[in-house]
Structures are given as C-alpha cells and as structure tokens.
Symmetry: C2
Subunit: 495 residues, 2 copies
C-alpha cells in the first residue's frame, strides 16, 4: 500500500509530464495537418445528450479501465479532438471567435501548464510584466493619450464591459458603491446603441440600475448610432434632470458589424459631460490597419473602451482589455481590504497588483499568447489579419449579392456579413424558417459552420470571415451547399 503522498509523487514527476506532452503534441500535429488543409468536417455533430453521455462514461470508467495509463491518455485526447469544434477549418466562418494563430496557442499553453496567475505582482511577475507592456502598446495603437491612460486584462468582453460600466457608475454616482443604488436621488439611465451586445443591458441588471433604465438610441440605415437621435435624447434628459451613467457606442455592433461615428458621439458626450464608453471588442484591432483605421477614428477619446484580443488579434480565449483614458479611474471599479494580498510593508507594489482593478481575484495569465505572437511577428501580423479578413468579406458580399437567389442587404463594414437564401417566387412568410433550417442542417452536416441573426423580424444567415484560410472559393462552395440543402428541405416538406 502506497501513501497518498507517494502516489502523488508519481503524478508530479517529470516523466509523467514528458509522456503526456509528447502524446498531446503528436496528436495535435496530426490534427492540424488535417484541419488546416480543410479536410474532414468542421465538427462531428451529435446531439448534446449523446455527447454528455459519452463524457460521463469516460469519467465513470476511470480508473478501473484495463488499459495502461498512456494508452488511456491517448484515447482521451483522441476523444477531445474528435468531438471538438475545428475553428481552424477554412469552412468555419461563424462567430467572432477565431482559430487562433497556432503560435499564440503554444505560448498560451506555456502559461497554462506552468499555471501563471495574477492578482498580486509577486504571484505572476512575468504575467504582470507582459500584461502591462501590452496595455501600453495596444493603447498606443488605439490612440489613447500617451502617458495618461491605464488598462487591464479580464475574462472576456462581457466582463470587460461590466467592469468599465461599474467604473462609470462609481465615478458618476459617487455613493453607489458604499450606499447602493437605492441611495441615489434619481435613478440614472444608460444610453445604448440599439444593436449593442446583450451584455450591455445585462450590465444594467447586474449593477442594480435595472434593465428598464436602458435607453436604446436609434440607428441610421447602416445600423450605426444616429448622432441626431443621441443629441435629442441627451438634451431631453438634461432638461428633465435625469442623470446619465454612460453613453455606450459600438465598434462594431455584433449583428452586421456596424461602426458608430465615434468622433461625433465623443463631441456630444463632451458637450453634455457624459461618460463615453465604447464596446470595441471586435473592431479596435482595425487601428492596426492603414486601410481600415478610419473605422475607429475617435476611439481614443472614449473614457473607457474594451478590446478582445481573442477576436481580431487571433489569440486563444479569453484575453479582453479594458482601457481608461485617464489612469486615475483604474481603481474606481472596486475598493477592498485584503490584508493577505496587499502588503502594507511595500505600498508602492500595489500599483502592480492587478487584483485591485479586475473582477477576478486569482486571474489567469491571459497575455502569453498575445505577447508571444506580437514579440515574434511584430504588430504587422494584426494589420494583415484585419486587411485579409475585412477584404474577403466585401468580396463575399459581392459574390452573394450577385446571385439571383440570395439577398445581402448590407455592404460589410468589416468582416461580418448577413445574407439569406431567397429564391425568386419563394414563400416570403416561410423564409425565416427556411434559413434557420438551412443553417441547422449546414452545421449538423459538418460541412460549414455559420451563425445567424434576426434584424427587424427577418432571419439572416451570418458569417464572420475570421479564418485567413477561407477564400472566395469557400464562399462559392457555401452558396452551392445552401442551394442543395434548400432543395432537400423543400423535398422533405413536400414528401
């Protein structure tokens, strides 16, 4: 009989690690050979209940399985790769989540395997250093005022937006942190781009403002926030003495990728003295591109903004930046007393303790992937990613729009494109169901992964051209595939 400590010595041995990493590396190489060449399915679809049953079986059969451990590890890794989504497949043109730069994945894995974490500098010294250097450089690219801004990295765009809006709430409504929202004389409102991501209204719910306090500002014909509508709302609120927590613009909004006119909105926010927040989760990276930088003109004027590096900078999830134009706001979101974390004997050190700024206490070191690719390839790689994918989306739009049986009402502003299958003479009332059914069959076939949205009651198919291996031939192939599926759907309905 061995003791727990003896058994654990075996599992924490260099040999145990070496055989596992070798096996994983071998399988990942074979996997990338296949997926990056566009062979095999985007995913092996099966119903959630089937996949859950399989995951449960593998858990429950351990460790009485007769296989030796390395065989078992091999088989479990196979199970993971077989059942996952292949984001690196050129037919993955779905959500705003990319197959990351393979090198970014490798650097991220170094952080994962050695488990670098933050909250205090001393626990994650290198993670802190990389994060701070990236905040400086990315903020500079975005156009924030040099030497004046600050930032942080957190676990995704929704939490990033929440953190920034919490800061706005605390700065604008001074007593709300300690006294609660009930202590304010007038309940404040949040002014939001009509197509803003659901996490913005959620933030109002979380922060105790109430989702009913969200006022949606109307859009122009390209679904960008209409400055005239914003101005009218600000004037009306001001005359009625209703406090405003923030104006939230998008760069870009998710449904069709619309970029709000940030400079005009910034002018209005300055004039009315209102906190200006921009959800630039997807679009901030346009600042790297000479060709597309104009889309985020004015972004550096925001009081707060967010940028997801795990979107258009092609690093693994999650790596979301929050920026504050004025560094003094960086500690406004939270205040706390945690004597075992924040050392009174080294007070200057706390400025490097990210836990004071983030929703997380222990925070995963999310900067390894971004720092690794930026340091290896230079910032030009992010310009390339923007240029290649934004450019192809316009080509895809031209191709789809030129088909007689498709409709793509909005020229893409970036790499997001909505379209629908609508043959001449089709039953318009059935078009929503048809397009949703097409999409379901598409993804279940494993041939493509595309997303969808609904605008003004109309169901659209939606693509994010986010894979650099996707080409215009891929889009032509998709068009044909959609036609085939629609025929199969019609046949099954008639039968």
């Amino acid at each position: 009989m061995s003791t727990p400590a003896e058994r654990l010595q075996q599992l924490f041995s260099p040999g145990e690690f070496a055989s596992a990493i070798d096996e994983a590396a071998a399988q990942l190489k074979a996997h990338f050979e296949q997926v990056l060449s566009g062979q095999g399915p985007v995913q092996n679809w099966s119903h959630p209940l089937e996949k859950i049953e399989r995951a449960r079986q593998r858990l429950d059969e351990a460790p009485v399985d007769a296989l030796p451990t390395l065989d078992r590890i091999r088989s479990l890794i196979e199970e993971c790769l077989q059942n996952s989504q292949n984001l690196h497949h050129s037919h993955y043109i779905g959500h705003q989540v990319p197959g990351p730069l393979p090198l970014a994945g490798v650097f991220d894995a170094i952080g994962t395997i050695t488990n670098q974490v933050m909250a205090v500098y001393e626990m994650g010294p290198w993670a802190t250093a990389m994060e701070r250097a990236l905040i400086e450089r990315l903020g500079g690219v975005i156009g924030l005022p040099k030497g004046e801004f600050a930032g942080l990295i957190t676990s995704g765009g929704s939490i990033a937006n929440l953190t920034a809006l919490l800061t706005a709430r605390n700065v604008v409504h001074g007593d709300s942190w300690k006294e609660g929202m009930a202590a304010l004389t007038h309940p404040p409102v949040l002014l939001v781009q009509e197509d803003a991501h659901y996490c913005i209204a959620r933030s109002a719910g979380i922060l105790g403002m109430g989702t009913n306090q969200v006022i949606r500002i109307g859009l122009d014909d390209q679904r960008r926030m209409c400055p005239k509508a914003l101005e009218a709302e600000l004037a009306s609120l001001s005359s009625r003495g209703i406090p405003v927590t923030a104006v939230v613009a998008c760069a870009c909004a998710t449904p069709i990728g619309a970029f709000d006119p940030l400079d005009e909105i910034a002018d209005l926010c300055e004039r009315y003295g209102v906190w200006f927040h921009v959800d630039a989760a997807h679009g901030a990276a346009a600042a790297f591109s000479e060709k597309y930088r104009h889309l985020v003109q004015g972004l550096g004027r925001a009081d707060s903004l967010i940028c997801d590096a795990h979107k258009m900078m092609h690093v693994p999830a999650l790596c979301a930046f929050v920026f504050y134009k004025q560094a003094k706001h960086r500690f406004a979101a939270f205040q706390q007393d945690a004597p075992y974390l924040f050392d009174p004997s080294a007070p200057g050190m706390a400025d490097f303790d990210c836990g004071l700024m983030t929703m997380e206490c222990t925070k995963r070191a999310a900067s390894f992937g971004l720092w690794g690719v930026w340091s290896t390839y230079g910032p030009g790689v992010f310009a390339d990613l923007v240029d290649a994918t934004f450019g192809l989306a316009v080509e895809a739009w031209q191709l789809i729009e030129s088909q007689v049986d498709f409709e793509a009402p909005y020229r893409p502003q970036c790499n997001i494109l909505v379209y629908r299958y609508l043959p001449l003479g089709a039953d318009i009332s059935g078009a929503n169901d048809m397009n949703r059914e097409i999409r379901r069959r598409l993804i279940e076939s494993g041939d493509f992964y595309v997303s969808q949205t609904t605008i003004g009651g109309v169901a659209y198919l939606r693509m994010t051209v986010i894979n650099p291996l996707t080409t215009i031939e891929t889009i032509a192939h998709l068009i044909e595939k959609i036609r085939q599926i629609s025929q199969a759907v019609s046949a099954s309905v008639s039968a």
Copy 2:
C-alpha cells in the same frame, strides 16, 4: 511583395505549429525536470519596473530582430520560463493556487491550442459535454440532491460568488433585475462570515446593494461563524422587517482556513427562510476524502455554493463551479435577448447553451484539465491531494509550534496555516514589521514563496501546503531560513 493572405497562410501552416510545439515541449520538459526536483529558485525576483521594461523591449524589437524566427521563438519561451513563478517547486507554499497536476496542464493546453469556447452548445460541443458531466459528478460528491441541482463553470471564485449572489438577489428581490435596487421598498442586507473573502463585500458593491449593507457575523475562537451570533442577527432583522439577500458562510475562510458549521447555519436559514450561500472555493474538495469529509457536512444543503477546481483539485486556473441546489434557479441570474445566439428553431437546445447562465458570453472551455485527470486517474486522486496536504499542514503546525521562537496560534483545519517569528524577548511592537520584512526577503531570495495575513492587527506569515512535493523537511528548512533572515534584518537595522 506577398499579400496579407499569403503571409498568413504561412503562419497558419502545420509546419509553423509543429516547430513551435516541439520547441515548447522540449523547454517545458527541461523546466519540469528542474522545478519538480526542487532545484533552482521558486522565482527569479526582480522589481516590476525591470520586468515590465524587459517585456516591452521584446515586444518592441520584433520583427526587425536579426535572428531567424525559430531562434526567436526559442528565446521568447526561455524568457517566459525564466521570469515566471514556479508553482511546482516544493518551496512554493503560498496562496491557494497550486502547481497543477502536469497532466491537467496538458489537457488544458489542448483546449487552448484548438481554442474551444462556449456560450452556445454548437460552438463548444465537447466543452459543453465535459462541463455538464463534471457538474453532475462533482455535485454528487458534494452531496447536492441527486437529480435536482444544476451548475456552471466560470472564470474564478470571485465571479462565481458574484454570479450566485446575483441569483440570490434576483430570486429574493423579484424586481431588482428590471427595476433596479432603487425600486425596492427596503434596502436589503447581506450577512457574511467576518473573515469572508473580499469578493463577497465587493459583490454587494457591484450589485448595487452597497457595501455598507454588509453585516459581518462574529466568529468563535477558531474563526468559524458563530451560529448564536447569526441567529441573533436574523431575529433582529426579522423583527425590524429588514430583508436579507443571503447568508454567506465559508468552507473555508481564507485567513486561517476556518470551516463554518454548515449544518447549523443551514438550519437557521431554513427557519428564517433566507437564501444560504457557501463560498467553498477552497474546501469543497474535502468531500472527496473520507478523513476530511466531515468539514463540509451540510454543504449540499446550500441554495448556492461555489467550488474552485483550480484550488484543491489541482487543475490550471480558472475553473470555478457554481452550484444551485434547485435547478430552477440556473437561469435566474440573467435574462437577455440575443437572436444570433439562441435559436428559435431549436428551442430545446438552449438548455445546453451555458451563456444563459454565465457572466461570460464567449467562455473559455475550462473543463479540459479536470475532465482529463478525472478520466485518467479517477476521483481518488482528489482524495489523495486533500489527504496529503491537509495532513502535512498539521505536521507543519506541530513542528512550528514546538519551536521556542515561533508562534502558530491555530491548529490547521485544512492545509492553511498562520504563524509568526517571535523570539523570546523580541520587541512585540516591532513584530509585525519584522515578519513582513522576513517575508519580503524570503520571496525576493527565491528560496521560498509564502503568503501573509493580518488578524486582529497582528501580522502573520501564512502558508498553504498545496504542493504534494513539499515535505516536513521543507518546513524545517523554512524555519531555519526565517531565523537567518531575521538575524540579517536585525543586523541591517543595527548597522
């Protein structure tokens, strides 16, 4: 001149991945050889400004560096490993964050490199399946009522506690989500273990309740919540008609690792009809151990609880579970409309879309590491980890307490231990400064990593015995090292 698309094809090639993963694997193997054998420092300390400058230099010198790319990748990986914290070193006995099981790191890396993410089932089918299977099995071990509970995984314990308390707020105060906290007739209070983690009071600030609405319940002489004090508070609030959002107990609290009497607290919460939440981030894993299961007796009676698998289940950060005793509460935290995510053509599918339950929209697939080790080694490995580390902490306490020049006032309830250096005749008024200075020199020397806390104005050194390679000889070595440093400190003060 190559186009952006052509340049990117190179970076997304199987060969680019293969050379990077081979280099990383080789360096990680050598790194583990050194660190797991206890050689070299726990960390190569330098001041944050120096490390930030280094991280910035490497960013800025790319890509004009003359080295060929693979040499550059090699050097950047070296930089990461040289400058990071070595959690796997046996002299790392600091925070409640472990050097994870090496196999867990490898499985986690598979999720990272292929970038499995969630929000909707179709994006992360296998991530969803593993997560659901783990929720079922871990909830079962914890003792939640079979077939009745639900859960989720989120980005760390602080966000997990926030999610659960948001659910409590929305369930207990029905209008607060839509109408805001200002709409409630009486501002509610939160009853909290006095030593609860700072994220609990933060949650009251975030949720618009106000941190002043947090009432701290007194402790017994082992720093456990005192049920009599809780009962008196509940009775008083009830008689005054003041609503209670939740009672928050700890299993365990961070400063000394105290486990509250959960069954007694559950009885009181039932009697007064109050939501019962337990922050079991660290201690829930005790349920795996026959020897220590009694510490979390009653945990399965909580309306909500959290458990960080990245603490005592030794997987990489972050992998935090939230459990609800009644599955009907799983969608109470958030409500939203996101037509591009939630498909009206397949309504049953939304039950498998974790985005409806989590603070994150895009969520990293955090279950790879835990599913991999559980499926390979079986749940016995978690019992071993608890037994080995909790057992050693008691031995360490006996050894330290038996030294004439040390004080360790609390017998460890788990693997957290506070102590201080206090030689006979020492200047008591200088003891706090001395112990903090000892710790600072300890971690800067690279010989040990330990944490600290302050209890009732007294500064203690603190250790979490969380590394299975730590032995009682490590602790004896630490004691000697502390004595040496104290002499050096005294000498430098006299000089």
